[in-house]
Symmetry: C2
Subunit: 315 residues, 2 copies
C-alpha cells in the first residue's frame, strides 16, 4: 500500500498557480511546493504539469529545476515525472556513472511488471534515441552484461499459470549450476530472464523444498564477485521486492554519509505503491522506524519532502 496522502478534491489550475506563486519573488517557498506536490498522486501531478504548461507556457519540471537545488531538487523533479519517464531517466543516469550502477537497472528490470518495463523502454527510446537494451549493452561488459541485457530485453508472460513440473526441473538445473559453481552458464540467465514471476516464484520455492536452502544462499559464497551480487539482486527483486527495498533503505542510511540517490529512489518510486509494507519491514529489522531514520540522516527541505512522501502528518 501507498504511504502518500493525497486529497480527493483538488484543482490542477489552483495548484499550478500556487506553485508559480511559491517560485516568484525573493526566495522560493519550498514548503509551499512540498505541501502541494508532496500530497498529489500520479494522475493529479500529471494534471498539474499540464495546467502549468497551459497557463505559463513553461514546463513545471524546468521551473522546479531552476528554483531548487541538490537532493531536494532531484527528488521532487523525479517525483513529478511520469513513472516510466522517471525510470528511463534513472536507468540512463545509472548507466552513465563512472562505474555503472547495475542495481538500478536490475530493480527496473526485475521489479516492474512487463507492461511497466515496456513503458520505461518506450520512454527511454523517446528520450535517448537508443533502446534501453542497446545502452545497457554499451555501458556494461562480461557476465553482468549478459545478465542485464537479457533481463531488460524480455517481454515476459505475466499471468498466474505455473507449470509445477517445470519448476521442479528448473530448480534442479539452477541447483546443479550453483552447486557446480558454474554461475556463468547460460541456463541461469535463460531461466531468470525468460520465465514469468509466478513461474520463478514456484521454482525458487521448489529449490528450497528440494535442497533445504534458499537459492540466494548458494550464491553468497564470494561476496566480492559483482556478477554473483547481480544474480542475487535479480533474484531478490523478483522474489520479494518489498524486502529488497527495505534492505536498500537500511544500507543507504547505514553508511558513513547517507546514499541520497538510493534513499530518494526507493521513497519516490515506491510511495504510491508499497512503501507502507516496506516501512513495516524496515521497522522489524531495525531499531527505529523509517521516518526516524530518515529524520536523523537528512535535513532541510529534502527531509521535509521525504517525510511527506512517507505519510508523515505535520502537527
Amino acid at each position: 500500500m501507498a504511504t502518500l496522502l493525497a486529497p480527493k478534491q483538488f484543482s490542477p489550475v489552483e495548484d499550478a498557480e500556487n506553485i508559480k506563486r511559491a517560485c516568484l519573488g525573493f526566495g522560493t517557498d519550498e514548503r509551499a511546493i512540498i505541501s502541494i506536490l508532496g500530497h498529489r498522486n500520479l494522475f493529479q501531478r500529471k494534471l498539474i504539469r499540464l495546467a502549468y504548461e497551459e497557463i505559463y507556457h513553461e514546463d513545471l519540471i524546468q521551473q522546479l529545476k531552476s528554483e531548487l537545488s541538490g537532493d531536494f531538487e532531484r527528488a521532487i523533479c523525479h517525483w513529478t515525472l511520469d513513472p516510466a519517464d522517471r525510470d528511463a531517466l534513472l536507468a540512463n543516469m545509472a548507466l552513465k556513472k563512472t562505474i555503472p550502477d547495475f542495481q538500478v537497472i536490475l530493480e527496473i528490470a526485475c521489479v516492474s511488471s512487463p507492461e511497466e518495463l515496456l513503458a520505461t523502454k518506450r520512454a527511454y527510446r523517446f528520450r535517448y534515441k537508443h533502446s534501453l537494451e542497446e545502452d545497457v549493452a554499451s555501458y556494461t561488459e562480461g557476465n553482468i552484461r549478459k545478465l542485464l541485457v537479457a533481463l531488460t530485453s524480455t517481454y515476459k508472460y505475466d499471468g498466474y499459470e505455473v507449470d509445477g513440473d517445470l519448476a521442479h526441473s528448473e530448480a534442479n538445473i539452477l541447483h546443479e549450476e550453483i552447486a557446480g559453481k558454474d554461475y556463468n552458464h547460460e541456463e541461469l540467465i535463460r531461466i531468470l530472464s525468460t520465465r514469468s514471476k509466478s513461474q520463478l516464484t514456484a521454482t525458487f520455492n521448489k529449490y528450497r523444498n528440494i535442497h533445504g536452502t534458499s537459492i540466494t544462499k548458494g550464491l553468497l559464497i564470494d561476496s566480492t564477485d559483482d556478477y554473483l551480487y547481480a544474480l542475487r539482486t535479480a533474484i531478490r527483486c523478483i522474489r520479494d521486492p518489498k524486502k529488497y527495498f527495505a534492505k536498500i533503505l537500511r544500507n543507504a542510511m547505514k553508511m558513513e554519509g547517507t546514499d541520497e540517490d538510493a534513499l530518494s529512489r526507493v521513497i519516490v518510486t515506491r510511495a504510491e505503491k508499497d512503501l507502507k509494507e516496506i516501512k513495516e519491514l524496515f521497522l522489524k529489522r531495525n531499531d527505529m522506524s523509517l521516518e526516524e531514520a530518515v529524520a536523523r540522516d537528512t535535513s532541510g527541505d529534502y527531509k521535509t519532502f521525504l517525510l511527506t512522501l512517507l505519510g508523515h502528518q505535520e502537527n
Copy 2:
C-alpha cells in the same frame, strides 16, 4: 507495395452472409470464399470476422477450418487472422516442429518493426500463456538459442538517427570476429540484437566499404553450420527483407515437391505489404514470373487463392 486488390466499398454483413451461404448445402463453394476474403484488406477482414461472430455466434476461422482442408485451409485461415496473432501462431508452429524451423522465428524477429514484434509477443502470451522468448529458449539450444532469444527479446529503437562513428567501430568488431572465425562471440549477437535497423544498415554498409566484401559473404564459409546460416538469415532479413523473401519463394518452388508452408507464409504475410516489389525481384532472378511459378507448382483452390493474393486478375 501490396499486391492485394480490395474494393473501397464493401459490406461486412453481406460478406459474412455470402461466406455462410458458400459453406451451407452440399459441398463448399471455395471459389466464392476466395472471391470475398482474397479481396479484402486487413481492416475489412477484421470487420467481416466481427460481423460473422455477431450474426452466427460462430468464429469465422473455426467455420473455415471445418469446411476447408489442406494447404488451402491453412493459407486462408492464416490470411483471415490478425497479423500479430498469425505471427504468434506461425512462431509456435515453427518451434514445435521436430526440428524447430528457426527461419520463421528469424523472419518475425528481424523483419517486423519493433511495434509489430511487440504485438506478436502480446498475441503469443495471450495464446500460449508463455512469452515468445521463453518458448524460443525452451525449444532451441546452443548458439542458435542465444541468437534467437536475443533477437526476439529486444524492443529496439526504430528511428532514423544513426551514429556514423559507431557504425565504423562496430563494422570493425564484426569483421574481426568473422575474419577470426570467432562467430560465437557475444559481440556479434549483441550488435545484431540491440542496434536499430537504421544503425545496422549503416554498419553493414561501412563493413562493405572498409573490407571490400559484404558481411554475409564472410559467413558463407561453412554452409552446413546451422548457426552461421541463422546469422546470415538474420542479417539478410534486416538488410533487405524483400530480396530475402524473393529468395525464399524461389527455394520453396525449386525443390522436388513444393515447400507449401514457406510459399503460403511469404504470400500471406507480404500480400498487403511489399509483395509487389518481391514479385519484381523474383522476376529479375528467375526465368519466369512469380505467378507463373505458383501456377506451375500448385493446383486447385490453393492455387486460385495464392494467385488472387498475388493480384492476378481473372478474365
